[in-house]
Amino acid sequence: MKKARKLQHHATVKIRVILAGFFMTLLTIFIIFALLQVSLFNPVVKLYVQGADPETVRTILARRGQILDRNGNILAESVDAHSLWVNPRALKDPEMFASLVGPIIEIPEQQIIDLIHANSERFFVYVRRKITTSQMQDILQFRRPRNFDFGFEPDQRREYPKNRSAASLIGCVGTDNSGLSGLEFTFNEELNGIPGKQIVYQTFAGDRVPYSSDLIQKPMPGYSLLTTIDYTLQNIVEGILEKHIHRWNAVGGVAVVMDPGTGEILCMASRPTFDLNQGARFIENPNYFNKAVSMNFEPGSVFKTIIAASALEEGVLSPMTMLNCTGSVRIADARVQCMIPHGEQNLADILRNSCNVGFVEIGMKMRERMHRYAMRFNLGSALPIRIFGQERGIVPTPEKWHETTYATFSFGQGLTATPLQIITSYAALANDGKMMKPMIIRELRDHLGHPVEIFEPTLMRSIVSSQTAREIKLALRNSIHHPRGTHQAVVEGISIAGKTGTAKKVVDGRYVDDRVVTSFVGFFPAENPQYVILVSLDEPRPSHEAYGATVAAPIFKEIVQWMQSHMLLTQ
């Protein structure tokens, strides 16, 4: 009886088991149909999946090269940065996110919240580009296992440790890390390197799947530029220039130091300047251009040296030729005047006196040849140097000249030139008449610091004979060291050759008295020049006190004084 019951119970169990198994079969069939539906037939899911681009080729940034001064001081370098993005669709609490992240990335909380709300339908939006690694680490602490709503894209940030120094020369880069101005622009290709390529996989939301198994091409880091700039000198010169601009209330200024033997530019200071680390908003403003190459000014008296050298070369003039200045001379229907009659003068005297009448006399003898020499001194055409924003200057051709043009051209009016063109011309005279190609880059180096390309000093052309060059050097030296010479430029213990210049600016086709460009170009030691220095101040005030000798020469002197005690000078 008991056993029978037991068997009966066991039979019931078996029937129930089979019955349950039957229900499980139904459940399985249901599950399989649901799986097929989701996987293959659900139109909305299909739409989401088609929107996803699972594979894309992504470029990997190559490390941009550095910009260095001649001694290896870093002027510009790229550091690792990270761009913070967020998925607005999945971010459930933007206010919380903003309050946590805002203070770290220095963006007002409300701005972040607005950004997220404005992009609430998107899956990916940058919150802030190019933040530092430590900022990233601070933010990463907020990432909890269930909150995968933000991430970081690798990026680079350009840093300029010298901030305002040589800013317009160096230039800056855009958010895409390519150069916008200065050396950053002209040498962009060399600096940039070759980006790598990688296949990345994306989630449907556009999030990059962060494993990088499929590297197609490794990135090739960019080359570094070893410039000819001497940062120490640059820094000092900029300080001096700044001081004098302030003293003269000038709108700007330029100072360039060049090695005449090699054409290397040791210093290129331009004012006003800006902090490169926030450079992008300054580079389109003409005030902040590199005045050494962009200031297209009428050279005025500093051009007289070039005319004098041409005349010596042509035999129109010798150092001993005496010219008589009566105070004024009439050419066609125009009158050229000197402030006082200078009387009988030799070459050194007319340069010292900057005697217009004397130069008119030379000019009337030189005629069209003046233009030929201007061309040989590379005026009116761009110098073969890769530098950003270079102006060519304007030198009218003799066909367009009037009779008066022969006169005005001889003392540097009616043509324009850039400071770099002027200093290169003086450098040629200082270098025995041989014009060296101006150099701003000495070397390209790869990312390991090995030189890839070394730029040697190159001769552009011989302009005048060494005899002429010697005579002009002597004349310029004598004009400075003469008892009534430009004593403002004289530094004890160094023989200096140089020329002042004061040119009125042209506004609406007329010369205006109260806006002048005052310049001084000089080299030293006069007998065996090692350095040429050009200094120009734009619109120093009060203009009636502003002359090359009073404004620019003292700046030159301060620079030379510093160089005398800090740089190697061979007497």
């Binding site: 008991k2 019951r5 037991k6 009966q8 119970h9 066991h10 019931t12 169990v13 078996k14 129930r16 088991v17 089979i18 349950a20 198994g21 499980m24 459940l27 399985t28 599950i31 399989i32 649901a34 799986l35 097929l36 989701v38 996987s39 293959l40 659900n42 909305v44 899911v45 299909k46 989401y48 999946v49 996803a52 699972p54 998925n87 669709r89 999945a90 459930k92 990463l140 990432r143 909890r144 296992p145 269930r146 995968f148 991430g151 996989y201 994306q202 989630t203 449907f204 939301a205 999030d207 799947v209 962060p210 494993y211």
Partner: protein, 374 residues
Amino acid sequence: MTKKKGISIHDLLFWLIIFLTIFGLLMSLSTTATSYFTIGSVLPFREFTKQALFAFIGILLMIFMSRIPMRFWKKMALPFFLLSCFLLVVVLIPPFYVEGIYNEAGEAARRWLRAGFFSFQPSELAKLGLILMVSYIMSLFKGRMKLGDFFKILLWILVPVFLIYVAPDFSTAAFLLFLGMLAMAIGGTPVKYFVLTLVPVLIGGLVVLSRSDRLMGRIISYQNVFQDPANSGYQVLQSFIAIARGGWFGQGLNRGSQKFYSLPEAQTDFVFAVICEEFGLLVSFFVIFAFCMLLFLALKVSIKSKDSFSSILSAMIGFHLFLQAMLHIAVTLGIAPPTGIPLPFISIGGTALVVYLAEVGILLRLAKKAEANP
């Protein structure tokens, strides 16, 4: 009698489970290596190593269990059940549970027991304890059950269910209750008793649901996947996308991308979606087939068994693992609310894996016994 040719149920079951475990390890490698990116873990293989270690221990335990005679379990059913209930009580006491675990309604849940260098979920043990207990009790009745007995057994079942419910862990509590009642049903409880209790249980269930607004909202809104893809429907939508991206043949092992940022808890609650994305429909069907096979073999053992206890127990072990798998798949398909049910043998979770393997060990013993003299 001559022995049947071909592979025995025992061996088939054994290799099926070995296969599932190894496949699970493969998936855990695929889903947890992402932790380096998603949570910034510095040891991307830590989870996998842990899982592999537990799998090894679990398989050893399974083999060991398959050698323990059934009379041991008959004796141990009640003590084992009481032990698992005791652990469920312990896990509620502050110093013993792991903090920072949240249930499906977003409330702090007391699920994990701290045990020295590792932690484990007593609720996993409670499932086995309950199955053993109810199977044993039901086998005692031999066809005569009064209504009072029915309620007594139901009360026994409700002890662990209640303890898990207050943890709070609603889905596991509900699953446990269902398992217990299924065991009762298989054990021969008269159908009329069920009809008698079904109405109050349904009412009780509704009361429980309405008690938690967030839970209610969860259950209502999971169907509105496409209405609210950014919030309540987010997980399920991500799961859908993973499944659809897989197509028939999948993206390839470790080529899935949903597991990275989009699909939360890819290594546990949504591992089936990752299988779909990386291996495609064909392999997914095979995984479903494997669990059907497990159930089929378990039911075969159940029918071949000579006594009620073995029949109920083997069927219940099969039902437990099969149903849990189906529930997990149903969650990834948006049929059931996302409640955090792991896929047996495949989802990450060391202690759970060990318990499942031990459970299969008992089933293996039953299989051997059932096949011994047909």
